[in-house]
């Protein structure tokens, strides 16, 4: 049964007045001067030469959620978080809170000292601090995203629900905007005094359109720091189109099929690789997909660094200056090649690991934003020369299976089609699949243009986080694979 959508007045009427009042009474985010004022006040209250970190974060989020053609939630939230850490008796004592008046700041500092009454004084030399990572400068930010009004989200949803209602379909989805600003202060015996600030904004929009009888489903979505890069009209159009085209699917025998993975599906495998690359400890400790084997002579596990692990055309990297990936040079992260021409060239690790294992202070932190590139074939071209195969929109319920093979399993979802003699002929019932990224990326026939996909970051601002962690920009292509293992049919649509 289709629930009747909100009327226009319900969505766009008086309920937005309260948001406007909130807008008028306080800014969405602290500016840098306000944050600096808090930091200076804390420094004055603490009045110590000990190592100290202070992080003042200001966060705003606006969201619009709808389901079954019915707007279910509109929100506009804001918060501030102050995080203080002072090294007392050799240990870092930390506290976070969201009150910024003098009395609260004083209570916080007092608490840190009171909580450190017990215990001995540990020599500072035992815990020599690492260089502090302080995000600097303007990072992933878009004024258009930040200025997005709740009413505009409401209007977009209204239009969409009107359309789905008119066509007898059900739609659900989420539009979310986040803005965040940080000012970090750090003073350590190792790195001296540092200030660093950062900003981040993000918009995400995803939409599912389903047939009321449950016989078809379409999905589309996108996320970016920049509102201009998220075309909501196009997203809903795709979701509608996929829903209609996926109606009344036929059942195919499970097995190995030549398969085209759309970017959202490709990303599932690419992200697995990046996650493994982001954890140097695993392969060097003898487990995970990139470990090679124990070398008794040197008492170490060899890794696959320097070896070809995927198709030679594939490159995976993070480049802050890459305009496509949408991150910015000043995000605090350096350029980082992960897979170059199919060869594994790097792992990420933290400072401590570098200091201990490499005897150096150079290190690359894990980054969740990345680009995977390797070709420019269009999806239409891939379909046109396919004799018989499948096109996958995306996956759901993906699980990583234990073991060194990187094997994963999951379900296809929201659009699976059969291609016969160069044309999409039928919608197909969903499959469960079991595959490994290594098998996928070593059996690539064609690679498309890399495009940003739906991959939103943390909705809440990460604790003591940096802006680059808020926005995860993943840019991956459509790929055509020689064969893909679909292991069973499933009834879910």
């Amino acid at each position: 049964m289709i629930t009747k959508a909100h009327s226009e007045s319900d969505i766009l009427g008086a309920s937005y007045d309260s948001f406007q009042e909130q807008e008028d009474s306080a800014p969405r985010l602290f500016d840098e001067a306000a944050a600096l004022d808090i930091i200076e006040r804390i420094k004055k209250i603490a009045d110590t030469d000990n190592d100290m970190y202070i992080s003042v974060q200001s966060w705003w989020g606006g969201a619009q959620r709808w389901a079954r053609n019915y707007a279910t939630m509109t929100s506009d939230q804001r918060n501030v978080s102050v995080w203080i850490s002072i090294k007392i008796k050799g240990l870092n004592r930390a506290l976070s809170f969201n009150q910024t008046d003098d009395n609260s700041l004083k209570n916080a500092v007092d608490y840190l000292y009171k909580s450190s009454k017990s215990g001995s004084n540990i020599p500072d030399a035992m815990w020599v601090e690492k260089p502090t990572f302080v995000p600097k400068g303007k990072s992933v930010w878009s004024d258009a995203t930040f200025n997005r009004k709740a009413e505009e989200n409401g209007r977009a949803v209204y239009n969409l629900t009107q359309k789905s209602e008119a066509e007898g379909l059900l739609s659900a989805g989420f539009i979310g905007t986040v803005g965040a600003r940080i000012l970090n202060y750090s003073r350590t015996s190792y790195s001296g005094e540092q200030y660093g600030s950062g900003e981040a904004s993000e918009i995400q929009c995803s939409c599912t359109v389903r047939h009321p009888k449950g016989t078809g489903s379409g999905w589309a979505g996108n996320s970016s720091f920049d509102l201009q890069r998220v075309d909501m009209a196009r997203i809903t159009e795709i979701a509608f189109d996929k829903c209609v085209r996926s109606l009344d699917p036929v059942r195919l025998e499970p097995g190995r099929y030549q398969t085209i993975l759309e970017p959202q599906a490709t990303a599932v495998f690419a992200e697995q690789l990046v996650l493994h690359i982001g954890n140097r400890i695993s392969p060097e400790a003898g487990y995970g997909v990139f470990t090679l084997g124990g070398d008794a002579a040197i008492s170490r596990y060899r890794t696959k660094l320097g070896l070809q692990v995927v198709d030679k055309r594939i490159n995976i990297y993070h480049d802050p200056e890459d305009p496509i990936s949408g991150t910015h040079p000043s995000s605090g992260m350096d350029a980082f090649d992960m897979i170059k021409d199919g060869v594994l060239v790097n792992f990420a690790n933290d400072f401590e690991y570098s200091a201990r294992e490499f005897h150096t202070t150079d290190f690359h932190l894990f980054r969740s934003s990345f680009v995977m590139k390797g070709g420019s074939t269009s999806t239409e071209e891939m379909i046109s020369d396919m004799e018989r195969g499948l096109v996958v929109t995306r996956f759901s319920g993906v699980e990583v299976l234990p073991g060194a093979s990187g094997l994963m399993t999951g379900l296809t979802r929201d659009g699976l089609w059969l291609v016969e003699r160069g044309k999409i002929t039928k919608a197909v019932r969903n499959f469960r699949w079991t595959e490994s990224p290594f098998f996928i990326f070593n059996n690539v026939e064609k690679i498309g243009e890399a495009v940003p996909i739906f991959n939103p970051g943390e909705w809440q601002f990460p604790f003591r986080g940096a802006p680059h962690e808020v926005v995860r920009t993943v840019v991956v292509p459509t790929i055509k694979i020689k064969d893909f293992s679909f292991t069973s049919t499933i009834d879910a649509v």
Binding site: N121, P123, A125, M126, V128, I281, A285, S299, R300, T360
Partner: protein, 532 residues
């Protein structure tokens, strides 16, 4: 339910009923494992027992289980037993055993035999052999296995003991199976994490008694074979034994605790595979104890002369606490250093090759691992151990205490340090902060970049002179600390591997050994020379 000395938040109302069931059952199983005829233990945790009578316990496991509780409870106690602070991996301060618990523990441990407690007296025999009987019997067994008789006799003896162990195994496995079945009925998902850990800790302890094959099976056949090969290799090359086992034991316990839900299937498979594994063990024993050359290559090392140790840096405690609360110490120039070990004195040499100030990094090492790799540093154990050293030194001031360690390029979470910086930091830590009442001898570790892969920048530490000197003599383990007690002639009188605080038994033992060595008169006098 009132557990011995329990005042922990763990025992909340919510957890009470469940814990009661689990604890009673676990204790039953645990005790069943140690002694099937012992039924009194079923009510061990049921009786309100605020003044536990430790001397009433008949088995070490009971002491250990009770002490484990106290240990946990003491986290929440402000009563500091040690004058050093215990710090967990999150840099949170923790308290240790209260003084009365220590006394009670000692009373509990004293005069107990070592029924079913897994003990490593040294040597390459893996944890497959549970020594059953008194400690004296165990020592005699060890001597007979390694020193006396023909290879046939040794094999016969080993098989005899293995059969005793293996005969009781099906019963233990059945007990484990019941344990798992019962545990499965409990609403795991809704209980506090603490309950899971609690159960895990107890289970791990009882699983220890269940023993070797459980551990081996949980790791898979490949690992069994790998360890097997490692053990044999080490024997054949006269290397120290046990590194691989220790490593995998750690993995095993982790897996056991966190993957508890798979335990039932695991035990089922163990029951099914019992006969095969028994045969496998027996075959292995034949190989190990039938190899005369290997046996001779790794003799029991007591009464052998300890090698002279060297070091690039030496620091000495002034045994005076300065204004900053740290013990004062002084660097000893090379020309003023007395030899280690010092002739004519009772020497206690503690090998802290890994440095107990390091942080757990969960780095495992491949087959053939050597002492150059640092892993699994657990500061709290070290802190306890250092406190033990202080107590021992206080009791036996005539004992010459030396800690030997080496540089690794970093200390704790530090940036890379030069050897000089690192030595100074270590001195500040061991002598200053931990107040070790003795000397600290530090070797500079040579190292290279990992060869053969320019992209792989790892540092590979090379063996140091002390490590070479002690190779094949007594393990200088990167993963364990090791204590050597030498008599006035410089001969090894006693040595102990591992964190010797656990269940307090080893500390008591160490005190007894030192008292014994002090009674021994030097044969060569104070001018005795050390030969290798």
């Amino acid at each position: 339910m009132k557990v011995h000395g329990a005042n922990s938040s763990l025992y909340s109302v919510r957890c009470n009923i469940m814990l009661k069931k689990i604890a009673v059952f676990l204790v039953f199983v645990m005790m069943s494992v140690s002694n099937p005829s012992s039924l009194f233990s079923q009510v061990l945790f049921e009786v309100p027992d605020t003044t536990p009578n430790y001397t009433g316990y008949r088995y070490l496991e009971e002491c250990a289980a009770a002490l484990d509780r106290i240990y946990k409870d003491s986290f929440h106690s402000s009563k500091l037993w040690m004058d050093t602070a215990r710090i967990n991996y999150k840099l949170e301060l923790m308290t240790a055993y209260p003084e009365d618990a220590i006394k009670a523990g000692k009373a509990c441990v004293k005069n107990k035999n070592i029924d079913t407690i897994q003990r490593t007296i040294g040597g390459p025999i893996a944890r497959t052999l549970l020594l059953i009987g008194s400690e004296k019997d165990a020592k005699q067994l060890y001597d007979r296995l390694y020193e006396g008789g023909t290879s046939e006799e040794r094999v016969k003896l080993a098989i005899e003991w293995m059969n005793i162990y293996a005969d009781a195994r099906p019963m233990r496995l059945e007990a484990m199976k019941t344990l798992y079945q019962n545990a499965k009925l409990e609403p795991w998902a809704d209980t506090a994490d603490g309950v899971m850990l609690e159960l895990g800790a107890i289970l791990a302890r009882s699983a220890w008694v269940v023993g070797d094959t459980l551990f081996a099976m949980s790791l898979g056949k490949e690992v069994i074979e790998r360890n097997e090969k490692l053990t044999l290799d080490q024997r054949n090359y006269g290397e120290r034994a046990g590194g691989g086992w220790n490593l995998d034991r750690t993995i095993y316990i982790d897996r056991h605790v966190y993957r508890f839900v798979y335990g039932q299937a695991l035990v089922d498979s163990l029951i099914a595979g019992h006969t095969a594994l028994r045969g496998w063990h027996l075959e292995r024993l034949k190989r190990v104890f039938g190899d005369t050359i290997a046996i001779n290559g790794n003799r029991y090392w007591n009464e052998r002369r300890f090698p002279q140790l060297t070091g690039d840096f030496m620091f000495k405690s002034k045994e005076h606490i300065g204004a900053d609360g740290l013990m004062e110490y002084v660097a000893v120039p090379k020309e003023e250093r007395s030899p280690v070990p010092e002739s004519g004195k009772i020497n206690m040499i503690v090998s802290l090759q890994a440095g107990c100030n390091m942080w757990t990094n969960n780095i495992s090492t491949p087959p053939g691992n050597d002492v150059t790799h640092r892993s699994n540093k657990t500061p709290q154990f070290c802190f306890e151990t250092i406190s033990q050293l202080r107590r021992i030194k206080e009791k036996f001031p005539e004992v010459d205490l030396t800690i030997i360690t080496r540089t690794y390029g970093t200390v704790g979470r530090s940036a890379p340090l030069t050897p000089e910086q690192e030595a100074d930091t270590l001195a500040k830590y061991f002598l200053g902060f931990l107040k070790v009442p003795g000397r600290l001898l530090i070797e500079n570790t040579p190292w290279i970049k990992l060869p053969g892969n320019p992209l792989d920048l790892r540092r590979v530490d090379l063996p140091t002179p002390n490590q070479d000197s002690l190779q094949g003599f007594s393990g200088v383990s990167a993963q364990h600390l090791r204590v050597h007690v030498l008599d006035a002639d410089g001969k090894m009188f006693f040595d102990s591997e591992g964190f010797f605080l656990r269940a307090l038994g080893p500390e008591l033992r160490l005190e007894e050994e030192i008292a014994a060595v002090l009674r021994r008169k030097p044969k060569q006098g104070i001018t005795g020379q050390y030969d290798q």
